[in-house]
Amino acid sequence: MAGVTLEATRPAPVRPRRTGATVGLVARYVVLVLTVLVSIFPLAWLLITSLRTSDELFAVPVRLLPSTVTLEQYVTVFTEYEMADYVWNSIVVSLATVALVTVLALPCAYVLARFRLPGVKVVITVLLIMRMIPVIALAIPLFSVFSGIGLLDTVLGLVLTHAASKLPVAIWLMMAFIQDLPKEIEESAEIDGAGVLRKLVFVVAPLIGPGIAASAVLTFLFTWNDLLLALTLTSSEAAQTLPVGLTNFVTQFGIDWGPMSAAGVLMVVPTLLFVWFAQGYLVKGLVAGAVRG
């Protein structure tokens, strides 16, 4: 296991005190501020754009700050576009995918981590390879399969697809957490007469809570952010999600920048919430997912 933890707050390597030390320190703060500014400014610009009046959007020369702050773009996006449908579909698809992935991944990860059954190693290897498959290689045949069985343009079809494609990472992640548990805990539960299922639900699951949370957060965000699968497998407001909604602003109506920026801002809100409130899980998940698959 790679000993990488983004959480680590150990003091950084000591640098020798030299005459240039102060200059060096100033340079470091400049880099810090610039890096953060460059990382955040484009998104701040999206927010600023979404708060302008339609006239000011196309003002030349470009103004840095809006002369009047208005929510008219947000109103437009809900009244003149199918925004409510996109948001609703995105929420339903993402939450249903998280539920399905969690329920399926946990028992599977437990078996892969703790049972020595024939086929376990094969499954683990296949999961690793699945992580590398380009989504488009999956989207193309699924379109033809789904059109044959009526799953095209349905929330159910999208949820099943997302669940299948997010399962490999979720299973790897949970396996990692289960393998870090001392076996003695499960063994003592076994002595107390707990069956496999009881052990999984009442002993293992609570202990790997952070792993389950990390997997859920990552599954939610990757499903929420996905464009390609939804673009391929949906075609109407019945199942189109927010990212597909964004492409509809481009292709159907020309580019309507005001409402589009408002839609973009709304899409980023869950991301910001997760980064703020679930940062630890997000980082754990990214690192474990990265290291292991």
Binding site: V14, R28, L32, W45, V111, V196, V275, A290
Partner: protein, 311 residues
């Protein structure tokens, strides 16, 4: 535990209090997830691999066997050559910018700086934002009439750049947007790696009077090798399946100037309704990414990483 029972899987379990033998429980618990992946992931994938050797057109009932011609067609046509070249440029340029830039920033930030903690939280935002939003946002920033970037360039007395309409700049624009999104992730990974480096060799180097530059090359970089390898693996896999940013910024245009493999596969399937060629392109993308991974790190390393995991 499981081992002893596994050596004789069919032996009847003596105690009646146990409803099912352990191996059966094991398979039963793992089955739902594996079944779903088989039906919705592996079967379609295999199906499209087989169909990449046929004429595969959803409108016609007949699908004659074509052998390798879906693949050879790609390499004789001119547009695929450009797509492939774009993909190589995009992958190499992005990797260099993200890894070198990410490492430089991480090394400079890797000391006791006030505000580093909140900065790390903020740096987590770009990698987690939907790539579709990133593409859309940069399309707006790069807009030639109303975009901020050209406005700033003009204000500084520089010529405005036709970011998205000039074939020479379109791919550059896409690389910039993608690097903006992903470099912070590498900064975070490298920062974590740098903090895990033992202090003794660094102190020894300082005592010996080694320059910061030499310390970095001789001590820090070799110790960071595993982290760099992991970071590059994640990025290579994702760079070969980049779609969202390109689709919202340029749709691969103008012409084919910013077309990447996944974008080409999507267009072939859903604009030209030519699923056979599209499937072939998607498999070329997969094989290329595996090839690059294998070339860089070797298949043994991939497998040894896995067995270390199981130990």
């Amino acid at each position: 535990m499981a081992t002893s029972q596994m050596s004789r899987p069919r032996a009847p379990v003596a105690r009646r209090s146990r409803p099912a033998p352990k191996w059966l429980t094991g398979y039963a618990l793992a089955a739902p997830a594996i079944l779903l992946m088989l039906v919705i992931f592996l079967y379609p994938l295999g199906h499209s691999f087989v169909m990449s050797f046929f004429r595969w057109d959803l409108n016609s009932a007949e699908s004659p066997f074509l052998g390798l011609s879906n693949y050879t067609d790609l390499f004789t046509g001119t547009s695929f050559g450009q797509t492939l070249r774009n993909q190589v440029i995009f992958t190499v340029a992005s990797l260099v910018i993200e890894v070198v830039g990410g490492m430089a920033i991480a090394v400079l930030l890797s000391s006791k700086l006030r505000g580093l903690r909140p900065a790390r939280t903020l740096l987590l935002i770009p990698p987690m934002v939907a790539p579709a939003v990133v593409g859309l946002n940069f399309r707006w920033l790069f807009n030639e009439q109303y975009g901020l970037i050209d406005a700033v360039l003009v204000r500084l007395g520089l010529p405005a750049i036709p970011w998205l309409s000039d074939p020479a700049w379109a791919l550059v624009s896409v690389i910039i947007a993608s690097a903006w999104q992903n470099t912070p992730l590498l900064v975070l990974l490298f920062l974590a790696g740098l903090q895990a480096i033992p202090r003794e060799p660094l102190e020894a180097a300082a005592v010996d009077g080694a320059s910061a530059w030499r310390t970095f090359w001789a001590i820090v970089l070799p110790l960071m090798r595993p982290v760099v390898v992991i970071a590059m693996m994640i990025r290579i896999i994702d760079l070969f399946r980049t779609f969202d940013v390109v689709w919202l910024m340029t749709q691969g245009g103008p012409g084919n100037a910013s077309n990447l493999l996944t974008v080409e596969a999507y267009k072939l399937a859903f604009q030209s309704v030519d699923f056979g060629h599209a499937a072939a392109v998607s498999y070329v993308a997969l094989v290329l990414s595996l090839l690059v991974l294998a070339l860089l790190y070797g298949i043994p390393r991939l497998t040894s990483g896995r067995s270390a995991w199981q130990a």
